[in-house]
C-alpha cells in the first residue's frame, strides 16, 4: 500500500485563496478517509474486470462519484465498505446494464506479476513441511478465479479485504445467511482446487499431518 497521501500536493498558495476553507477541509478528509483505500479498490476492480484499463476506469469513476457524494458518507462508518459498494454499483451499471463487454482477460498481467515476485516471495524453508505452504501465489490466484463469481466475490471481500458479513451482505445485496453459505461452499470448492494443485506437485492434500 502506497501510504503517501500526498497532502503536500495541494498547492499552499491556492488552497486558501481559490478554494473555500470548507472545500479544502473536504479534500483533506477525503484523502485521509477515501484515497488511502485506492490500492484495495484497484485490486477489487481488477478481480471484477480482469483487465487493467477497465479497472482503472472503474476506480476513477468510483472516486469521482465518491467525492461528489462524500457528504452522504456516514461519518464513523467504514469508508472502505462505502467505496466498495459504489465501485460494485458502477461495475454493474457499466458492464451489465449497458451490456458493455469487459475487455479481454489479461492473463499476461498475472504471469508477469508472478514472475516479478517469484524469486523474492516464495518461502522455501516452509515449502516442504506442509502442502498448504507449498502453494504458489499463482496457484492460489488461479484457484480463486476458477470459482463461480458469486463465490469468489464473497471470499475476496471476507478473506482479502476483511469486511464483516454485515458489510458484505450490504455490498452484494444479499442476506447474511446467503453470505454464510456462499463462503462455506466457496471455501470448500477452493480447498479442493488447492489440494489438486498440491497433489499434482507431489503433495498429498490433507493426509500429511
Amino acid at each position: 500500500m502506497n501510504n503517501d497521501k500526498q497532502n503536500s500536493k495541494i498547492p499552499a498558495e491556492q488552497s486558501t485563496s481559490s478554494l473555500s476553507v470548507i472545500e479544502y477541509q473536504k479534500q483533506l478528509e477525503f484523502q485521509k478517509e477515501a484515497v488511502v483505500h485506492l490500492n484495495a479498490l484497484y485490486n477489487y476492480a481488477l478481480h471484477l474486470t480482469m483487465n487493467t484499463d477497465d479497472a482503472e476506469d472503474l476506480v476513477q469513476e468510483t472516486y469521482l462519484k465518491a467525492y461528489r457524494f462524500f457528504n452522504s458518507f456516514e461519518r464513523g462508518t467504514n469508508c472502505k465498505a462505502w467505496l466498495f459498494k459504489i465501485l460494485k454499483n458502477n461495475y454493474i451499471n457499466i458492464f451489465r446494464k449497458n451490456s458493455k463487454e469487459p475487455g479481454k482477460v489479461d492473463y499476461d498481467l498475472i504471469k508477469d506479476f508472478y514472475h516479478s515476485i517469484k524469486d523474492s516471495s516464495i518461502d522455501t524453508t516452509e515449502a516442504d513441511s506442509d502442502y498448504f505452504h507449498s502453494l504458489l501465489h499463482e496457484e492460489v490466484y488461479q484457484a480463486l478465479h476458477s470459482l463461480p463469481e458469486e463465490f469468489r466475490e464473497v471470499i475476496e471481500l471476507c478473506d482479502i479485504e476483511g469486511f464483516t458479513y454485515e458489510e458484505i451482505a450490504n455490498m452484494v445485496e444479499s442476506p447474511i445467511g446467503t453470505i454464510r453459505s456462499r463462503l462455506f461452499r466457496g471455501r470448500k470448492m477452493l480447498r479442493e482446487q488447492l489440494e489438486t494443485y498440491a497433489s499434482q506437485r507431489g503433495f498429498h492434500g490433507g493426509t500429511d499431518r
Partner: protein, 80 residues
C-alpha cells in the same frame, strides 16, 4: 449440536461471526469431535493461505495521480 449443525457453522466460526450462543455450542461440539475439529482447522488454514498468498497489485502511479487530480479538479469546479 450434532456434526451436521457444526459443519454449517464452520465458515462463520473461522470469521468470528458466530453469535455468543452459537459460539458456545460450536466449540463445545469441537471439544468432543475430532472430525469437526479437523474441518475447522482446515478451514482456518484455507483462509490464511488466501490472505497470505493471493497476488496483490499496486495501483499504477498514473492512476494515483489522476485520482489526486480528480479531487482537486472537482473541488475547483464546485467552487465556481
Amino acid at each position: 449440536m450434532n456434526c451436521q449443525q457444526a459443519y454449517q457453522l464452520i465458515s462463520a466460526a473461522v470469521d468470528g461471526e458466530l453469535s455468543c450462543h452459537e459460539k458456545e455450542k460450536f466449540f463445545q461440539h469441537l471439544a468432543e469431535c475430532t472430525t469437526c475439529t479437523e474441518e475447522f482447522n482446515d478451514a482456518m488454514k484455507t483462509k490464511l493461505i488466501i490472505k497470505e498468498r493471493i497476488i496483490r497489485f499496486t495501483a499504477p502511479q498514473t492512476l494515483i495521480n489522476s485520482i489526486m487530480h480528480l479531487t482537486h479538479h472537482c473541488a475547483q469546479e464546485s467552487n465556481l
